[in-house]
């Protein structure tokens, strides 16, 4: 082996942490967009002539009234977790769950949507790794401990802007953003069944899709 130690400056675990940050940044964007999302949800609720939810809404927003401008429109939306399968609006104005059968179908659909989201995340990572072009290695001497000289190797990877892999990544990114917002909106219905479907689907999707990824990561991260 070489006598000089080659120290990787692109620490693989920092990269993993940055990937985890992507999830956090999705939520940050959600925070910034929440007011518009809630307004459109209210309009949908008022258009579809639905009764108040099974949950008595009168004490939820009246206690939070000081400083609040809107009272009437917000009464229809639950602000605490509840389990119900009647008059549950789901994302779009035509989609309302009224029977246990429809709730079961919605549970399965949301479960698979969450699995799809996890799979899409892993697939984008794989595609990115496969399409990395123009990998440049720059080596520079760096003083190390005990007066030795270490060779520090910088690895830079990039993509061309108008190449097909990058365009594909962009399209998949848009799909990922939209699906993540849909999942957030589904969770925002505060319906216990649907929230459990989101969590379970995310867990199952991570379990299946990250299984293969963990093996692939091992190979690529350890090869010199």
């Amino acid at each position: 082996m070489e006598q000089a130690a080659v120290k990787r400056s692109s620490h693989p675990f920092r990269q993993k942490y940055l990937l985890l940050q992507c999830w956090g940044s999705t939520f940050l964007r959600a925070f910034l967009n929440i007011s518009e999302v809630k307004m459109s949800l209210d309009h949908h609720m008022m258009n579809s002539s639905m009764l108040a939810t099974s949950h008595p809404p009168e004490h939820h927003h009246s206690t939070a009234a000081p400083g609040h401008g809107h009272e009437t429109g917000m009464m229809m939306m639950a602000m605490t977790f509840h389990f119900s399968y009647e008059n549950v609006p789901l994302l779009f104005s035509g989609l309302t769950i009224n029977t246990p059968g429809e709730m079961a179908g919605a549970f399965v659909a949301v479960f698979f949507l969450a699995m799809f989201y996890e799979g899409l995340k892993i697939a984008r990572e794989c595609l990115l790794r496969k399409s990395q072009v123009s990998i440049r290695y720059n080596s520079m001497p760096v003083p190390g401990p005990n007066g030795t000289i270490l060779m520090e190797t910088h690895k830079t990877v990039g993509q061309q802007m108008l190449s097909f892999p990058h365009l594909l990544q962009t399209v998949l990114h848009i799909i990922q953003v939209v699906v993540s917002y849909f999942l957030m909106l589904i969770f925002m219905t505060y319906n216990g069944y649907l929230c459990i479907a989101v969590a379970a689907g995310a867990g199952m999707g991570y379990f299946f899709f990250s299984w293969k990824k963990a093996v692939v990561v091992d190979i690529t991260e350890h090869c010199h």
Binding site: Y17, A30, S35, A200
Partner: protein
């Protein structure tokens, strides 16, 4: 819909209704800890991944990859029994951590959705504290 300062909020569950300053302080503390937990779980996942890659010998993973390339998905080899079992346990724990991260993340989002400014500040401070305390642990060990 805008942020407001108030001592009254109903947070996430029916029984969690706050009417007094004391209750609000406690609620903000709980949300702060929840936000810190979110950051901790993120680091926890990275550390478990680190430990997985240390525990799995290079040859085993290469062999599993070759198996997958050939299309044979047989992971119950007797000779790799213990290592495969250990890797499976690592993966299950990663999945559990992932589910916890998803649920806690959504809970924090719903707490912020209450539009209570104190709760929001609690989330921000908790996130900052969590990151500050836990991030250095990423490079240790």
């Amino acid at each position: 819909m805008s942020f407001f300062f108030s001592d009254e909020v109903v947070l996430l569950f029916d029984f969690w209704s706050v009417h007094s300053p004391t209750g609000m302080v406690l609620s903000v503390l709980v949300i702060l800890l929840l936000s810190m937990l979110y950051e901790t779980v993120k680091i926890g996942k990275a550390k478990v991944l680190h430990r997985t890659m240390l525990a799995i010998p290079h040859s085993l993973s290469q062999e599993s990859l070759a198996e997958q390339d050939e299309g044979a998905v047989d992971t119950s080899h007797g000779q790799h029994g213990t290592t495969q079992g250990r890797w499976f346990l690592y993966h299950v724990s990663q999945t559990l951590l992932h589910v916890i991260q998803v649920v806690v993340g959504y809970m924090v989002m719903l707490a912020v959705m209450s539009y209570n400014a104190w709760i929001f500040l609690g989330v921000i401070v908790g996130s900052a504290l969590g990151y500050f305390v836990v991030f250095p642990l990423l490079n240790v060990g």
